[in-house]
Amino acid sequence: MADRSIEDLLRELAPRVLAVVARKYRDFDTAEDAVQEALLAAHLHWPADGLPDSPEAWLIATASRRLINMWRGDDARRRREEQDWTPVTATAADESAADRDDTLQLLFMCTHAALTSSSAIALTLRAVGGLTTAEIAAAFLVPEATMGQRISRAKQRIHASGEPFRLPSGADWRPRLDAVLHVLYLIFSEGYASSGGGELVRTDLSKEAIRLAREVHRLLPHEPEVAGLLALMLLNDARRDARTGPHGELIPLPEQDRARWDRAAIAEGVELVSAALRQRAVGPYQLQAAIAAVHDEAAAAAETDWPQILALYGVLERIQPNPMVTLNRAVALAMVDGPRAGLKVLDTLDGPLAGHHRLAAVRGHLLEMAGDRPGAIEQLRAAAVGTPSAPELRYLLTEIARLRDGD
């Protein structure tokens, strides 16, 4: 306890405190604001005054006082008209309820179907991740006022949906868990995509997503897809340092310096996904993690077990058909059976991915493999014109120049 920073302690307690206060007063929206203020108060007092005997109880009490004050504020009348606001008398059992249910309830709440994914991401980072609005705004490069508005509208939507603050049951459980995992995956992807954006200081969303996925895995150790998602994140994040050059330029997987991959993260990811697959309930996250593991375990790009990757993409395509998966399978097939086989598969995507920059980029890559340099240049130009990503644009322009120089 003593060797952990106050910051870490607060972030760990935040979701538990919020869940207790939200349940006690049946008002998620106000509870969220009140808990934020309590966390701020703790930030200000604890370093100077030392930790209270029970930090959690201190935060619950402080947040409850703040919430009552907010209720007494200008909008109290409106609230009282809207709902029966008699505080629920918390039983001792309630107060000591497992933090498992608290954190999960919050996650289910923050990834509610009524929310857009950008709102769900923001709310999850704030309510469960314990980040400040300013930190989330910085991570997404939008003004703080905009992010504050996004979060408060998300809370209003949840409030308006009338969802009771409790865990979904029975048939509702699985889709709701899928929504939670999807939001965590989106947070990770955002961090993964932006880490190549130069030296702008941004909250490390990848690390945050991993922290949250670890938490969900701790709470639901027997859910193989949760383990799969955590493994997928670890196995991708392991390559982070090797993925970009000194000027933020993208370095594609085959050209990365594998000595710079994080071996500990790879070992942990491999172990997680192997254990998950043994449970014989395969799902998309486990399959993607398994593919990442095959890449990570190859000592050199030339030693990559492409037949294995091709087989895994085949299974993934069967259980979750999607043009992007087919696109990746085409690459694997080209590595196993030659570029022409891959190009044939790409032809099936001209409808679903018409004009998509990724399709053009992959086609250019396979045409180069097939020895059609002018065709490759034409496709890479189409990809450069179509890409919305600055690092990818720079990468494609460099590739076009390389092909034209005849290297």
């Binding site: 130069g198 000027h247 450069a384 179509g386 460099t398 076009i400």
Partner: protein, 131 residues
């Protein structure tokens, strides 16, 4: 004082970079990278973005009746297109021109400065204090 510094390019110029050598492309990208970093380190950068190629531009018109019309942009008569911009907060117009001059001199083919025309426009700010 805040200024918007706009880089325009003809469609030929966007075609241009796709006809440079690897070394030219690399040198140009590194120049832009360093330029942005210097503005940030000088505490003058407010916000900067590059735009996608004009092929992705659309023009939307709505007369308030029926559905809005979305057509491929940009205007056929346009010779030049906005390709990127910087919003800077700097001490004087002279300094804004200095920043623009540097952006204009980005290296192109064989490292020769491109001399791209750069537009500098003061941003309408809060009311001036009475002297």
């Amino acid at each position: 004082m805040k200024y918007m510094i706009m880089m325009h390019t003809g469609q030929d110029a966007t075609e241009g970079i796709m006809n440079w050598s690897q070394q030219d492309v690399k040198r140009h990208i590194e120049f832009q990278h360093d330029f942005d970093r210097e503005l940030r380190e000088a505490g003058e950068m407010v916000f900067n973005e590059g735009l996608t190629f004009p092929d992705q531009a659309r023009i939307v018109r709505h007369d308030g009746k029926g559905a809005p019309a979305v057509t491929d942009g940009p205007f056929p008569e346009a010779k030049e297109f906005l390709i990127g911009f910087w919003i800077v907060d700097c001490a004087s117009p002279e300094r804004a021109y200095e920043i623009a001059a540097k952006a204009s001199s980005a290296p192109g083919k064989d490292g020769a400065p491109l001399g791209i025309p750069i537009e500098v426009r003061p941003i309408v700010g809060p009311p001036q204090a009475d002297a």
